[in-house]
């Protein structure tokens, strides 16, 4: 209580000492690609990203409806998302127009995607609004489009972004970026370093008693840097080139094991990535060609492994090449054709038996159309994929698959209140990862791809007037996942193997509302609410004890309630996230229950704009109520923590 009073006093004092500036509700920096669908898709933009002070993209994704996050905790720790319960491997992550690929695990760790340079994050569940995103993203179940400051044009000659953060559990975070811009050119360099000892106290219920301890082996540090160059040619082409390098050094704390210390594992990762893209808009054509190469090496160690060496070390090295071509063509005034091809070549070399060598060539092709009728837009696409792969022991039978997608969107109707409807059907699949196929005795080289079908009906309502801005989105959907890849023990309890055994039915409902109101010249308030309902049932076997039980780790109910109050340049944001109980296994019995939780973060911030300089200070209290919770059972999350952040921007 005492703490709450102090916090309250602090917030009120910030409010009363607010600085003066023009009325501003939301820093709307809608980028070209966003402009088309600013309100029809869920998105977070820079001002909201700054207010939330998420440590990574994973944390920010919790603010989206229809997203279930799987987080193993800690700075940089593994975070993945499952969009509309299809599973994380069904979502593509696209950063500045390039799909991130990891065929070893099939998952991109959102805990290692930084937030400082983010301009926007969009979650696309239906059709892509921008037909120039890579084909690999166009054919996946959903995609996350991320755009950064470094890879964009600007009207300012010199732009600087700097941020420095200090937080609980020994966390320090520094980021510096400089961008030189001209009308036809941008050139940027950036660097980032963050560190945390991650030693936080925890306690949870152990029967009727309380088990408490300190999270150990949770040190994390990473450093990354890169450069971007973009220019427009005299003939109107746009060339973009980027390079980035990352070093990650992390300890893996593992699950808290009762009565025993756990967590003797470490992981070191080095990533290099270079990417090049060329974009050109002609009279009737839009074309984009791109290529990227990334190399990732990882070293995993376990000093507690009781083999003869007394130590386990596994080295992995991944190289991935991407090449793609996208095109859009105006056939008639209302009819556009679009399509493209993409080739991903990946190779994994490791010291682990079975997965010591694996190669995959994954080809994608899409052909589609959009017909813009005065009252609706009809989009259809047909995609084809070919996957050829081999490992040291075998060459897999080549895989050929065709998948349709169709969407009807009504035209926006209404004057004061604008409304729109959207209906889509998507059929997609995800490939098994190299680990699922070949890892030691766990892998199963006979795995088939995991298939997904989605039918979704959505509506958008918007109200925009000088006093109010209101957006309401709602969707109902029915999805099915077939040949779901799950791990089951096949040799003994310690030797599990991957099998295509599951079938899952997903009935979902999402509702989100953003309401901003300008109270007066100085005061404004914004309320963001969303709610997700998902009944995700195991329908594999009518006679199994888990038939129609909720799939593990998907909450039936989850939602956000965020309130921002601003006076001139100073404001307060109270951010809430709640999740209903989940089950750690598919059998919905009390022994498997993982408690639901409610998290409240509170932030006070103030901006000091001095001509071209923007200085922004924020004090954030995360998990204000010190809730003890875990997203994955026994991966305990931190209690109340504090973060002070300074952001500086030279426009």
């Amino acid at each position: 209580m005492k703490f709450t009073l102090i916090l309250l006093a602090l917030m009120l004092s910030f409010l009363s000492f607010a600085q003066l500036t023009e009325r501003e509700l939301q820093e709307v920096r809608v980028r070209d690609s966003l402009r088309n669908n600013a309100e029809k898709v869920q998105a977070l933009r820079r001002s909201a990203i700054l207010e939330l002070q998420g440590e990574d993209v994973g944390q920010l994704m919790q603010k989206f409806a229809g997203v279930a996050i799987r987080s193993y905790g800690g700075l940089g720790g593994l975070k993945t998302i499952s969009v509309r319960s299809l599973g994380s491997n069904h979502s593509s992550i696209v950063v500045d127009g390039f799909t991130l690929v990891n065929n070893q695990t099939g998952q991109i760790n959102l805990g290692q995607l930084q937030t400082e340079s983010l301009e926007s994050i969009q979650l696309i569940t239906g059709g892509q609004k921008n037909y120039l995103v890579p084909i690999s993203a166009q054919v996946s179940g959903s995609s996350l489009l991320i755009e950064t400051f470094e890879a964009s044009f600007s009207e300012h000659k010199h732009q600087v972004r700097f941020s420095s953060k200090a937080g609980s559990f020994g966390q320090y975070d520094n980021y510096l970026s400089y961008k030189f811009g001209r009308e036809r050119l941008y050139c940027s360099v950036f660097g980032k370093y963050r560190i945390a000892n991650g030693t936080y106290p925890y306690s949870f219920r152990n029967g009727t008693s309380v088990y408490s301890g300190e999270r150990l082996n949770n040190f994390y540090q990473d450093a990354m840097g890169g450069a971007n160059l973009g220019f427009k040619t005299k003939k109107g082409g746009l060339v973009q080139l980027a390079y980035r390098k990352e070093f990650v050094d992390q300890e893996l704390p593992g699950a808290v094991i009762l009565y025993s210390q756990n967590g003797f594992q470490t992981l070191q990762t080095i990533n290099d990535r270079v990417q090049l893209s060329y974009l050109k808009h002609l009279k009737r054509w839009s074309l984009r060609a791109f290529s990227a190469y990334s190399a990732m090496s990882m070293v995993y160690t376990d000093s507690s492994y009781l083999n003869s060496a007394g130590f386990l070390q596994s080295d992995y090295s991944n190289s991935i090449g991407q090449l793609g071509l996208n095109a859009r063509f105006r056939l008639k005034e209302r009819l556009y054709l679009f399509g493209g091809i993409e080739e991903q070549l990946s190779m994994l070399v490791s010291t682990v038996a079975g997965i010591d060598y694996a190669k995959r060539a994954h080809s994608f092709g899409v052909l589609g159309f959009s017909y813009y009728h005065p009252i609706f837009t009809l989009t259809g696409q047909f995609s084809g994929q070919i996957v050829v792969e081999e490992n040291a022991n075998q060459t897999r039978i080549p895989l050929y698959k065709m998948n349709p997608f169709i969407q009807v969107e009504s035209k926006e109707i209404g004057q004061k209140v604008k409304g729109q409807l959207n209906l889509f059907y998507r059929n997609s699949f995800r490939m098994p990862s190299f680990s699922e196929l070949y890892y030691n005795s766990i892998g199963n080289a006979d795995l088939k791809p995991e298939k997904a079908d989605q039918i979704s009906l959505g509506k958008t309502l918007t109200v925009r007037n000088p006093k109010t801005q209101f957006v309401n989105r709602a969707s109902v959907y029915y999805n099915q996942v077939r040949d779901k890849i799950v791990a089951i023990p096949t040799k003994n309890l310690f030797v599990w193997s991957m099998q295509n055994v599951g079938k899952v039915a997903i009935v979902g409902f999402e509702e989100s509302a953003e309401w901003c109101y300008y109270l007066s010249q100085n005061w404004s308030t914004c309320l963001v609410l969303n709610y997700t309902f998902q009944k995700v049932s195991d329908i594999t076997d009518r006679h199994a004890p888990t038939f129609q039980h909720q799939i593990a780790y998907i909450p039936k109910h989850s939602g956000n309630a965020d309130l921002t109050i601003k006076r001139k340049n100073t404001g307060l944001r109270i951010s809430n996230f709640a999740s209903s109980l989940r089950y750690s296994l598919n059998e919905n019995i009390p022994a498997n229950q993982v408690d639901g939780y409610w998290l409240t973060d509170a932030a006070v911030f103030t901006k000091l704009p001095i001509r071209n300089h923007d200085i922004r200070l924020q004090f954030t209290v995360k998990n204000c109520l010190n809730t003890s919770y875990a997203i994955v059972r026994y991966y305990v999350m931190p209690g109340r923590s504090f973060l002070i952040s300074l952001n500086y921007a030279l426009k």
Binding site: N206, T208, Y259, L306, N307, V495, A591, T600
Partner: protein, 350 residues
């Protein structure tokens, strides 16, 4: 003021933190079966189920209800010695000693070496000592009165099963964590001075060890889960020599008077087999002694001499709670009890 009301409101919302103390129920422990359920690795959900045979009820949360806390992560073995019951909790690195009368903990013996765990696996007894295989390459000697580790006997890598016969301790060295180059030996320890007398080759990846009514020692060499099958091997406890390797598939052995019930679960076909092995004639009497059609995943088998019943432990798909299935000694199915996750060991109460 608006802000403060908001905060007060949110505090009220969270004030009702779950703190619902459950009453601890003490059940009279007679005429029943105590079941060790392994749980799943790294989920801290190993448990004891208590089957009350008088009213056919099952308390699947027995350890917690008697002790107010969870048992821990991955319970591997459960055995009674005198008035105490010893539970080997592998991944929690503890030996939980409970009172046979009421299931209350007498002592939780830590099985750690500095900060690292010894990963205890199975337990056997001789005179006033308990012997516990530890995956770090030792057999720990626990004094059954003081309940402390008095000595560590070095053996082979990742020792698994153990049994006492003829004043000697037979310990299977699995070497499982060196897969695919696993161990294939059994260490023979002289119980007079706790030194290793001999180390004999029995076959790849030895696991369970069982002594028959005549003192012969049988070991399951589990092979490589592929081209090398899982086989039962007989050791002469007098000569310390391997006498025979049997040609049938075997993954577990349970003593039933002068017989072994030999269980085998075939992971690739997902079918189970239960054979009847005569330990006097040292040969198979029935390759299909119990019909396993009602079993999903045979995870263990035990015989209760007092009631003359056989119990098959069914782990279902390992992630769903399991069953203890009761059969007559002739192998005729009678009934099932729904217990916790992955039931693996039983203790019978009269």
């Amino acid at each position: 003021m608006r802000l403060s009301s908001l905060f007060v409101l949110s505090l009220l919302l969270f004030a009702c933190d779950k703190d619902d103390d459950q009453p601890i129920v003490t059940t009279a422990m007679d005429n029943g079966i105590l079941v060790l359920c392994e749980g799943l690795f790294q989920q801290n959900n190993s448990s004891l189920s208590w089957i009350d045979l008088s009213d056919e009820t099952v308390n699947t949360d027995f350890f917690t209800s008697q002790n107010g806390r969870f048992l821990g992560d991955t319970g591997n073995d459960l055995k009674q010695y005198g008035s105490k019951i010893y539970i080997i909790v592998n991944n929690s690195n503890t030996v939980e000693v409970i009172n046979k009368k009421d299931g209350k903990s007498i002592k939780q013996i830590p099985m750690t070496n500095g900060s690292s765990g010894k990963q205890p696996r199975t337990i056997a007894f001789y005179n006033d000592k308990a012997f516990v295989t530890c995956y770090d390459g030792f057999v720990d000697v626990i004094d059954t009165t003081s309940l402390t580790v008095s000595q560590r006997i070095p053996v082979g890598s990742n020792p698994e099963g153990l049994a006492v016969s003829n004043g000697k301790l037979f310990v299977s060295n699995s070497g499982g964590l060196n897969y695919p180059t696993v161990d294939s030996t059994v260490s023979i320890i002289d119980l007079a001075n706790y030194t290793e007398l001999d180390r004999i080759v029995v076959g790849k990846n030895p696991g369970a060890v069982q002594v028959d009514s005549e003192g012969d020692v049988y070991v399951i060499a589990r092979g490589n889960y592929g081209s090398i099958p899982s086989r039962m091997v007989r050791i002469n406890a007098q000569t310390n020599l391997v006498e025979q390797t049997y040609s049938f598939d075997a993954s577990g052995m349970a003593l039933m008077n002068d017989y072994f019930l030999i269980s085998f679960y075939n992971y690739s076909t997902q079918t189970s087999e239960i054979r009847l092995f005569n330990t006097l004639s040292e040969s198979i009497e029935n390759n299909n002694f119990i019909s396993t059609s009602g079993l999903t995943t045979l995870y263990g088998i035990q015989y209760n001499p007092a009631t003359d019943k056989i119990y098959c432990l069914d782990a279902m798909n390992y992630t769903n709670s399991g069953y203890v299935r009761q059969y007559t000694s002739a192998g005729v199915y009678e009934k099932s009890y729904h217990v916790g996750l992955n039931p693996s060991k039983l203790i019978f109460y009269e």
